[in-house]
Every structure is written in C-alpha cells, then in structure tokens.
C-alpha cells in the first residue's frame, strides 16, 4: 500500500506543477492534430485508460475503443472549428459526459450492476480512477520509475515480490546473466509511470500507421525519437551492400567498410521483433509509443496557428500538403521534446543518446557512400559512353544503350540525390506520382539494359575459323629476335579506380586494342619462324570470319627487331568483338629471344559473361610452348627449353638457383640463401624451409651444385681481396704522402697475384 500512496503523491505533484504552467500540448489523436491542455490531456488519458480496462475482456476491444476515440476526436474537431484555440478540461469533461463513463454504460456483459459501482463515486475523479487501477486484484510487473537506479527493473521486481530492492539489485549484479536480463526486462516491462501516472515514459510498439512491412522500424524510430528511416536503413544495410557488389560488372567494389552489415540475420531479427513487439492500436498506446508530446507552449501555439492557416490555404492541394505540415510540426515537436528531456538525463537517456549518435553515424556513412558510389557510377558511365560506338551496333542496340545510360543509371542517381535532398529538408510528401514515374522509368532502364546485354551478347555468340598464317621474315637466321611494339610503353589504367582501359589509344575513328599474346616454341630448324592467329567473335561464324579478315595487324622484321603494330584497330564500323591475336614465335636452339612489355597486355580485354564464357576461350594449347618467361628479359633457347642468359631455366616450375636483379645476386642452395650486393655478402641459412626434399637432385642439378660451390669460393676470395685493398687504401690515405700514379696501381694488383 505504501507504494500506491507514493504513486498517488506523485500524481498530485505532477498535476500541481502542470497547473502552475498551464501547458498546452499537441497530440496526434486519431489522425488529427489536437492542441490540448496538459490537464485536459490527463483527463482524456485516464478516460481512455478506463475504457481500456472496461473493455479488456471484450472481443472487439480495439475496434470499440477506436470508434469511441474517433468520435471523441470528431467532437474535439468541432470545438476547434467553433473557435476554441485548444481543448480544455471542460471540453474533455463535456465529451466524457456525452460518451458516458464506463460504469454508466448499459451493457449486459458487465456482470457488475452499475448501481453497485456508484457507491464508490464519493471519491474525487482522479482518486476514483487510480483506485480502479489499483483495485485490480492481479499484480502486474512494472518497473518502478520512482525508485530507480538505472531503469527501475530491480525495484519493480522487488515491489512485485514484496522484498527490498537492494536484495534484487545485489542478485542482479552478482549473477552473470544480470546485464542481459536487465536490459531485456528494461525493454519489455512497462514502467509504472506510463501505466498509472500517464507520464512521459515511452513504450516500444510497432507503428501500424507508418509501416512498410510491419511497422517495426517506425516503432523503433518513435521509441528513440528519430526518423523511421534510420532503423529502416540499418535493417537494409546487408541488402544494400549485396546490391552494390558490382564485382560481376567488373566496375568497382562497394567500399569495404560498408560491409559491416548487421549480420545476415537482419531479416530474422526483424521477424523476431515483429513477433515480440505489440502493435499500437488504441490512441493510448499510440501516445505511449510516441511518448510525451512536448511543451514549449508559446512556440507551439504559434506553430499551430500557422498550421491551421496553411491547412486552410492548402485545402485544394489535399492531403499531401497537410501531411507535410503535420509531419514538420511533429518533427519540430519531437526535436523540442528531445531537448527538453535532455535536461533531466539519467543513465538510460545517455545510453539511448549514444545509440542514437551511433545510428546517425552509420546512416551518415551509408548516405555518403551511396552518393559517392552513384556519383562514380555516373562519371564512369559518362566517360565510358563515348566508347560505346566501338561496341554497340547502330539501330536498336544504340537505343538500348541510351536507354541504359539515361534510365538504368541516370534515374537511380537522380532519385537518390533527390531523396537525400528531400530528407535533408525534411519534406516527406507521399508523392506517389513521383515515385511511380521514377519506378517505371527505372523499369524501362532495366529493360533497356537487359535488351542491350542480350543483343550485344548475341553479337559475341560465334567464333571465327581459326587460321594460322605465316609471317614472312626478311632474315629468319638472325641470332636474336626482339618483339617490340611501335607504341611507347604507356602507363596503363588497369588498376585505377575505375577502368578507362579497354583501348590502348584512341584516334578519331579508331581505337587500339592490345589483345596480343606471344607463345614461344622451340624451332625445329635453325631459322626463326613466326605465325599469327586472329580470333574474333561475331553474331555468326560468317560475320566473325569477315571481321577476322578486316582485322589489320602488321608484323615486320627489321634486323633483330620484330616490329608489331601498336594494337588491333577497332573502328566504329568494325566493332569490338573480342579481337585477339596470338603470335607464335619458333626460336631455334642457341638463339636469343626477347619480348618487350609493350607488345601486349598481360590480361586480355574481352567482353564476357555466363552466356558466352565457353565461346571466348579458344584455350590455346601449344604442346611444346615455353612457360614462365618474363617480358623485357633476354632468353636463349636450349635443347631442353628456354633459359636466361645466366643459364637458368625460364620455367618457374623448375627450381631457379640464382637470380640477378637490381644490382643484387642471389644464390640459393637448399636451405641457404646467399645474397651479394653492394652491402657485402649475407648468408641466410634458414631461408627456404619448404620444398627441400621434393625431388632428389638430378645429375644436372648436382653438376650445377658443384659449379655453385666453385662460384661461391671465388666470390669469397674476391671479397677477401677487396677487403685487403680497402685496408691498403686506408693506410695510404693515412700516410698522406703524395705518391706517383704507379704507386696506387701496385698494391691493387699485388694482392690478386698473391691470392693463390
């Protein structure tokens, strides 16, 4: 009972405070914005609550209460229309009188005859309703907001079991699961202030009025006092990042840091919340959901006047305009409410506040990335678009290409930008027309995109007939052949942010494609031989063959140089159809070959997809082709394959024991790696642990090892010699005596002579 007295004391206190201020608040009552005095609101709330209790067992409870509330709203509206600035206590009392109090209702389902209840009507109104609430014989678990440390969970449990709150608190702190359980209880147990006093505490409900799926997000938004779009976007994150994986388009990656997602279980979380959170049906529940609807009466009165005026003027604009104004006022109201609440901050408020900041941060990042991604996509497509003539045939394909650019790419860019701007200026008109037209244009874009893809991919369906043609060499007996392109070595854009790469260079009508591959094979005789194969796709084999004939690629020998064109020319009439050149160079034993990097790209550029992946790959398999050679390096053909000039096989699969690069010599022997450079010689004994016992040394290998040891010894002695020379030089420098030139030479050669 002491608890009850406490609560009633609280109520009185609150009411006194309120009366002194005579506040007017704005409530959203059954779809109407109603300015109402706080005291009147209390009366109204108590009344709807008493209705709730009265009809608790009734089947159509929600409907009945909704009907009654709707009627009350109508009566309020009439009063406001007749010139009242806000709803007062008297108005509410009059309405209640006309509606009747629950105990006056004549309904046969009520087992208690009305007459018996009237005996208790000697109490004041307020006391009567509180008594009514407390007379409820079955206990309910409430969080005790008047005696709270964090959220009042412990004191609420203590009240329920009639024990000291401290005991419960200690149990919560000591037990391991305490925190999680606490948070859950905090979230799901209603606070007593909401249930009895009708105070500012919020409850989590699903918002059926503003729902897309089930109102979970809008309910959460209401609870935290932020736009429903924020939880919505948080839920959509995983899907968004999925959509933005452009990997298969080869365009760009969605920035990695956005893949944080909220685990792929967002959908499951949503469904669980859907099941757990009740939907707000009655106005009481809706008010609880949105919490206190804010004070600052002066501001609001003027805002209300404004709204009324605007509403009248905007009558012909219909519902749209009114919702904008209503929403704006709501936003202002809730913002003001947040400010007001912040002045009395408990730990819970701080947690909510931090969560809010976190949510805004995530949403900000997502929004920013979306804009950047869209902007990039737009820039990309605009830059690449001029190249379309090299790919896309005239006629329908061209139309599809334009449609794709304008609608498939352009519309989302414009849509997202306008959406963000509208969000920023808080315009939230439900402009169905705009959404509809955007949607249908985007659908057109999709159609264009798919038509374009299917039409273009049909142009890649067939391959040409493979025809190996001999290149006539002016002097096939040269000692060395160097393959080089007439174009200078250019910096490629391949690894740039977005690729502008497909062509080596562009002239007005021609783009050059460097899809050139070189295959090196051992020649069977003593002369070089070069063959060329042209490969191209087309709609039919015939078309592909025609294109292959039109492909011009000149190869010309000039002494030891084999000059290649700078690329395969692609013109606006002979479109890009995966043109590709394979040059096979037959190198005689004992002669050298070098392929410069500017000949071709390491990776060919081609238009590929699931529809023609098999057609693209000719799978060049030259049986005795040499593997593992590098560009820009000289090789010599030996009887068993290609070797570097230092005598080590080009094929990376054969173990290389020595490597010379960057002014550094590395020699590998088993686990030992010896490096020689200008810093001296370093020996690393545990350099290569793997692959030690993979193969027994062949005879060639052991021979090489011996050579290796010889070399090593020579190097060591050379090093010693150079040390000695240095010492002598130092001595000479110390002497400072001018010596004839020969004197310098003498000590230089002597140590070498002394070496053995």
């Amino acid at each position: 009972m002491t608890n009850i007295d406490n609560l009633m004391g609280n109520t009185q206190l609150t009411k006194q405070k309120i009366k002194a201020m005579k506040q007017v608040i704005n409530i959203n009552f059954q779809g109407r914005v109603v300015p109402i005095e706080v005291t009147a609101f209390e009366l109204l709330k108590n009344y709807t609550e008493s209705l709730n209790k009265h009809f608790a067992a009734e089947v159509g409870k929600e409907e009945i209460i909704n009907d009654i509330e709707s009627r009350i709203g109508e009566l309020f509206q009439e009063r406001l229309k007749n010139g009242a600035t806000c709803i007062t206590d008297d108005d509410v009392n009059a309405v209640i009188k006309s509606m009747g109090r629950p105990e006056e209702f004549e309904d046969d389902d009520n087992s208690q005859p009305a007459g018996q209840q009237t005996t208790s009507e000697t109490h004041t109104q307020q006391n009567f309703y509180n008594n009514n609430a407390n007379a409820n014989t079955h206990k309910r678990l409430y969080r005790d907001e008047s005696n709270k440390v964090l959220g009042g969970v412990c004191s609420g449990i203590a009240n329920y079991f009639n024990i000291d709150a401290l005991i419960v608190r200690i149990l919560f702190v000591v037990s391991g699961v305490g925190f999680l359980a606490y948070v859950l209880l905090w979230a799901f147990v209603p606070g007593n202030s909401a249930a009895v006093i009708g105070g500012p505490r919020k409850k989590l409900y699903r918002d059926g009025d503003d729902k897309i799926v089930a109102g979970v997000c809008s309910g959460i938004g209401n609870y935290f006092g932020m736009s429903a779009w924020i939880p919505r976007i948080l839920f959509l994150l995983p899907f968004l990042s999925f959509v933005f994986r452009w990997g298969h388009w080869g365009m760009m990656d969605f920035p990695n840091f956005l893949r944080v997602g909220f685990s792929p279980g967002a959908l499951i979380i949503y469904i669980i919340l859907w099941l757990v959170i009740p939907e707000a049906f009655t106005t009481t529940e809706k008010l609880e959901m949105k919490g206190e609807r804010v004070d600052m009466n002066t501001i609001k009165n003027s805002v209300m006047e404004e709204i009324k005026g605007v509403q009248q003027r905007a009558q012909k604009f219909g519902k749209e305009a009114t919702t904008v104004v209503g929403d704006t006022s709501k936003v202002i109201a809730s913002e003001a409410g947040n400010v007001a609440r912040r002045s009395s901050r408990s730990l819970g408020d701080i947690i909510v506040f931090l969560l809010k900041i976190f949510a805004y941060f995530i949403v900000g990042v997502v929004g920013f990335a979306l804009v950047v991604a869209m902007f990039t996509l737009a820039v990309f497509s605009i830059t690449v678009f001029p190249l379309k003539d090299f790919l896309v045939a005239d006629g329908w394909q061209n139309v599809y290409a334009w449609g794709t650019l304008l609608f498939f790419i352009g519309i989302p860019v414009i849509g997202i930008i306008t959406w963000i701007i509208r969000k920023l200026v808080k315009a939230k008109a439900h402009s169905r027309m705009i959404r509809l037209s955007f949607g249908s244009l985007w659908v057109i874009g999709w159609v264009c995109f798919i038509m374009l893809l299917s039409s273009v991919s049909r142009d890649f369906k067939a391959t040409n007939t493979i025809n190996e043609q001999e290149i006539s060499l002016s002097n096939p007996k040269v000692n060395k052949l160097e393959l080089t392109s007439v174009s200078s070595l250019k910096k490629y854009y391949r690894y740039n942010w977005f690729r502008l790469e497909p062509f080596e260079g562009m002239e007005e009508d021609t783009a050059y494609l460097k899809n050139v591959e070189v295959v090196i094979v051992k020649s069977s005789n003593d002369s070089f031989r070069v063959t060329m194969v042209k490969m191209v796709n087309g709609r039919t084999r015939h078309a592909a063959d025609t294109l292959a004939r039109l492909m011009e690629y000149n190869v010309e020998q000039k002494d030891s140089l084999l000059l290649l064109d700078k690329g395969i020319p692609i013109t606006r009439t002979d479109k890009f159809r995966n043109q590709r050149i394979v040059l096979t160079v037959y190198v005689p034993v004992g002669k050298q070959i070098r392929v410069n990097r500017n000949v071709g790209w390491g990776q060919n550029i081609h238009f590929n997809g699931p529809w023609n992946s098999n057609d693209w790959n000719f799978n060049i398999e030259v049986d005795d082709a040499e593997h593992g050679w590098d560009e820009d390096e000289d090789y010599i053909m030996k009887a068993d394959g290609l070797y570097t000039l230092d005598g080590y096989p080009a094929d990376g699969n054969k173990e290389r024991k020595q490597r010379i690069n960057n002014g550094k010599i590395q020699v590998r022997d088993g686990n030992t790696k010896v490096t020689m450079d200008r810093n001296g010689i370093t020996v690393d004994e545990n350099a290569y642990r793997y692959d030690n016992n993979s193969s027994a040394p062949t005879r060639v290998d052991s021979l090489k090892q011996k050579q290796e040891q010889e070399k090593q010894r020579l190097k060591d002695s050379l090093q010693k010699a150079s040390d000695k020379i240095n010492k002598q030089l130092d001595k000479l420098n110390e002497n400072n005596d001018p010596l004839p030139l020969a004197a310098y030479n003498l000590p230089v050669f002597n140590p070498i002579l002394n070496m053995n």
């Binding site: 009945i64 006056e104 005859p113 007459g115």
Partner: protein, 122 residues
Amino acid sequence: MNIDNTASQMRKGVLEFCILSVIKQGEAYPSDIIDKMKAANLNILEGTLYPLLTRLKNAELLTYRWVESNSGPPRKYFSLTVKGADFYKELEATWFELANAVKALTEAEQQHFNNNNFNNPQ
C-alpha cells in the same frame, strides 16, 4: 431490489431492437442513431452505443462501410445485413407479442396508460 438496476435491465433488453430499427430505416452514422433515439426520448450514451454496434457487427447482423467526411477521417456508416434483417423481424414479432401481453396485463390497473406511450418508454 434496486429500482435503478431493474429499470436499466428493462432498457437493456430493448436497446438492440431500437438500434436495429433505426438502422433498418437507412444507413446510419452512430451519432445519427443517437440523435434519432434522443428525438424519440430514449437517451443513450455513445459509450453504450459503440460496443453494442461492434457486437452486432461481430454477430454479422450489421455491416458498415467507410464514408469520406469533409472534416477529418472517414466515418463508419452502418447498415443491416440479410441476417440482420431476419433477426430484426424475429425481434419485432417478439416485441409486439410482449407489448400486447404487457398491455393486456397492465391495462386493467392503469387506465390512462395508452398504446402510444407504450411505444415510447421513458
């Protein structure tokens, strides 16, 4: 025996019949129903009416449709279903039986109590 209690019990029995008879005359909005009943000197609270309407609707005797109003959200307009019309006929028959019986029984004692008043109970 409490006089208020008995009187309200008597009223309760006929309320549904009265509501149905108002709706039978044409589609009606709840406050229209209240007004008509008031005009007939039968005072009823709206808080009583709404639950009754919902119950009748749930029993499929009534149906409603939303009608746009020029002020605020749309209103519910109630009308009788076929089942409701049948139900009304039966109630009507019962009512006249009852009224005649009561009339016959009470006429001897209360000479001044005439038929017309009987259809408009206080």
